[in-house]
């Protein structure tokens, strides 16, 4: 039989390898937060103009109305030029004057795609409350799992391991977001938050399904060690894990990422990776940590390496 748990430290290392680069980027550059969390204005315009807009010209246009921190990004989409302008908060009339100026000089029929303004106080409380909500739901998940696994020894551990693996998934997603912001200029906006919430929901659900098999096997397979029991349970539920992952994630999201609108592409890629991580971490993080906990392996971590494989 496949021995997944035997290589548990390899899997931990793989996860760390995936998480650490993103975290390093975050330490160096900070989180690539959008105006949804920092406050400010975002203007998105679609121009169909012969002459390309110059970034410095738009910045000086912003300066003329007293805004000095405008950041302009341009991209082209089906022959049209898309402008993203991020700045500190714009008033409605300031926005109108900018748009009318651009209409005069570039394209009379430019399309105003988006204009978002978020005040600093509201963005601050969004972040705080989001963290609070995740914290409270984590506690609720631990409590619920402890309750529903009460017939198994150390039910509390299952809940904690589920939450640890969930944090692993959050970190994978955040790390991906940080790398994406370096490579593709992604931003952590409200859609990113939605994706993160989705990953959290999926992650706990998947952990419980895998743990359920351990719970079911516990009274039946009394003679083998806990490590073997967990390994056996993982293998038994492996086909289900793969199929569910294929159905929900790969098929649905891949087609959304490939054929869906531009706006959703970033979110779909984050979801793809995050949900994959949700399935991965049930098997390779949550269940192995249960075993590490059962064996109290940390006592061996700082001794000579060969003793750790008892």
């Amino acid at each position: 039989m496949m021995n997944i748990l035997g290589k548990r430290y390899t899997f931990f290392a793989i996860s760390l390898l995936l998480i650490i680069p993103g975290l390093v980027l975050i330490v160096l550059n900070g989180l690539p937060l959008s105006i949804d969390f920092l406050g400010g204005s975002l203007v998105e315009l679609e121009l169909n103009s012969q002459k390309t807009t110059s970034i410095s010209e738009i910045q000086s246009l912003y300066k003329s109305i007293g805004i000095n921190d405008a950041q302009v990004q341009t991209s082209s989409e089906q022959g049209k030029e898309i402008l993203f302008i991020k700045s500190s908060s714009l008033e409605q009339d300031q926005y109108i004057s900018i748009v009318s100026h651009l209409k005069e000089n570039y394209d009379e029929h430019l399309v105003e795609r988006r204009f978002n303004t978020v005040g600093p106080s509201i963005s601050e409380s969004v972040t705080q409350r989001a963290l609070l909500a995740i914290l409270i739901s984590s506690i609720a998940v631990v409590l619920y799992i402890t309750f529903s696994f009460r017939r198994v020894d150390h039910a509390f551990r299952y809940g904690v391991c589920a939450v640890i693996a969930m944090i692993h998934d959050i970190l994978i997603v955040i790390s991906l977001g940080a790398i994406g912001s370096q490579v593709f200029g992604w931003q952590m906006d409200s859609l990113f938050l939605t994706a993160l919430l989705t990953v959290i929901g999926f992650s706990t659900q998947d952990k419980i399904v895998v743990f359920d098999r351990i719970r079911e096997n516990t009274p039946i397979l009394r003679k083998i060690s806990f490590e073997q029991l967990v390994n056996h349970s993982i293998i038994q539920s492996l086909q289900r894990s793969i199929n569910t992952q294929l159905m929900t994630v790969e098929f649905l999201l891949l087609s959304l990422a490939l054929f869906g609108g531009e706006t959703l592409r970033e979110m779909c890629i984050i979801l793809l990776v995050g949900l994959l991580s949700g399935t991965y971490s049930s098997i390779f993080i949550a269940a192995p940590i249960l075993v590490v906990w059962e064996n109290q392996e940390w006592e061996n971590w700082f001794r000579k390496p060969h003793t750790s494989k008892v």
Binding site: Q92, Y144, T198, S255, F259
Partner: protein, 468 residues
């Protein structure tokens, strides 16, 4: 056998009901039955429009009642502008969320919101200010109302005549607000006392405010008390004697004397139109309709492609149960949609994400059952036994994993609604619904259909039907 009939009847009624609701047509019947039009409500991110989050200034204690009144007033004002389908809703402790589909009137709407129509009685001590001066009070100074007052006054309730040609200066000192418009109990108009004077607006204060006002007027007899609307001084009467019964009058003097129309406008603004609290725009989002349209059409198409692949895979891999799963998932989606139509739930992009996760959990419930059924079949059980046992083995994991998700989404919903985070709220609502319906569809539809198929699936054909 009684139970089985009951089950079949229930399923039949449910299916008919869902089909009736989901598919277009029968509009008259539906409208008659539900007393409103049954059609999908799309969020602003899907069809374009503006959303604003309004917030009371920092450091204010305001209750739900005050916020509700404010949002009703805002809605009345916007409706008076002829903007259709506006909605203002209280969110959490100190937010109001306004939503405006379409983008034709963005500027007017913003102006209407900025017009607070806030009445204050301000203690000036011995300082006199001309009418029209912008006053800095306990409630801050609103530079917005200052600007919009100069250009034009779009609100039907605005009192244009109160503007006079004084140099509008903002006072440096902050003056104390004794009572506000929220303390008014009733407002009425009285005709001029003499031909040279204008109309008078009479007001009566609420009991608590009466006491406060009585105390103030007693201690400050001979001092000035300014009547201030939207930070602009209307008049600055001298307190000639203590006012203990809570009744008072506002009158303009000289060229500012009120005509009947002025007085009535003021009365309406004060009584119906006074925002009990001044609000500022904390967040505004404008989504162009093209962006929304594009997202919606492409995502629907993409979802359809993805779903076809899922169906294909399910049918090939799980054979007969796979076909049952497809039927079950289609019903799952239709029941969800029917609920969206009935409640009604506004569909937004985060909401669609929640729905997709719901589909995921519905699929998972099916896959869990089928894997267990296959396991039991491999152990040599008959089809009937395997279906029964497979279900019983899969049920605890389906139940616990879905319940955990429901708990999470309830917490997220609470978080989303105690605060203006509509994204989180929309996501949590459709997720909770999706997961609940997925429990139902696993429990009733998949299991029910599989059970009724047992007589048709002969044991010797199990390789053919189950793919083992």
């Amino acid at each position: 056998m009684h139970n089985k009939w009951f089950y079949k009847l229930f399923l039949l009624i449910l299916i008919c009901g869902v089909i009736l609701i989901v598919f277009p047509g029968f509009d008259e019947l539906k409208t008659k039955f539900f007393k409103r039009k049954i059609e999908p409500v799309l969020g602003l991110d899907l069809r374009g429009g503006m959303q604003v989050v309004l917030q009371a200034p920092e450091g204010y204690d305001i209750d739900q009642e005050t916020l509700k009144v404010a949002s009703t007033i805002l809605e009345n004002r916007s409706n008076a502008l002829g903007v259709s389908e506006v909605s203002f809703q209280v969110a959490g402790d100190n937010y109001i969320i306004g939503e405006f589909p379409g983008l034709e009137n963005v500027n007017e709407v913003v102006d209407v919101i900025k017009q607070t129509g806030m009445l204050e009685f301000v203690d000036l001590g011995d300082d006199y200010f001309l009418p029209g001066t912008i006053l800095r009070t306990d409630y801050g100074v609103s530079t917005d109302s200052y600007e919009s007052e100069i250009e034009f006054t779009p609100s039907p309730l605005a009192i244009g005549q109160l503007d006079i040609d004084v140099d509008k200066s903002i006072t440096g000192k902050t003056y104390h607000t004794v009572i506000t418009g929220a303390d008014l109990d009733s407002v009425s108009i009285a005709p001029p006392q003499s031909p040279s004077e204008g109309y008078i607006v009479l007001f009566r204060l609420k009991p608590e405010a009466t006491e406060l006002f009585a105390d103030h007027t007693k201690n400050n007899t001979g001092k000035l008390l300014a009547i201030v609307l939207d930070k602009e001084v209307i008049s600055t009467p001298v307190i000639s004697q203590p006012i203990e019964n809570g009744e008072g009058a506002i009158s303009g003097s000289g060229e500012n004397a009120f005509t009947l129309e002025d007085a009535n406008n003021l009365r309406v603004t004060l009584f119906y139109g006074t925002l009990p609290v001044s609000l500022e725009i904390a967040e505004s989002r404008v989504v162009g309709p093209s962006l929304g349209q594009e997202s919606l059409e492409k995502s629907l198409l993409a979802g359809l492609i993805g779903f076809s692949i899922v169906c294909f895979f399910m049918a090939i891999y799980y054979r007969a149960p796979g076909m049952v799963a497809i039927i079950s998932i289609i019903f799952f989606a239709m029941i969800n949609y029917a609920i969206y139509l009935l409640i009604p739930i506004t569909l937004t992009l985060p909401g669609v994400a929640g729905f997709l996760l719901g589909i995921g959990s519905a699929l998972d419930a099916n896959i869990l059952q089928f894997e267990r059924i296959k396991e039991e079949l491999r152990r040599g059980l008959s089809v009937g036994q395997a279906i029964d046992l497979g279900w019983r083995r899969a049920w605890p994991s389906i139940r616990d994993s879905n319940l955990a998700t429901i708990i999470t989404s309830v917490i997220l919903f609470w978080f989303g609604s105690t605060f203006g985070a509509t994204i989180v709220k929309g996501f949590a609502l459709t997720l909770a619904l999706g997961v609940s319906v997925s429990l139902f569809s696993a429990l009733i539809i998949t299991r029910g259909i599989l059970n009724s198929l047992i007589p048709l699936l002969k044991d010797r054909d199990k390789t053919k039907w189950f793919g083992i």
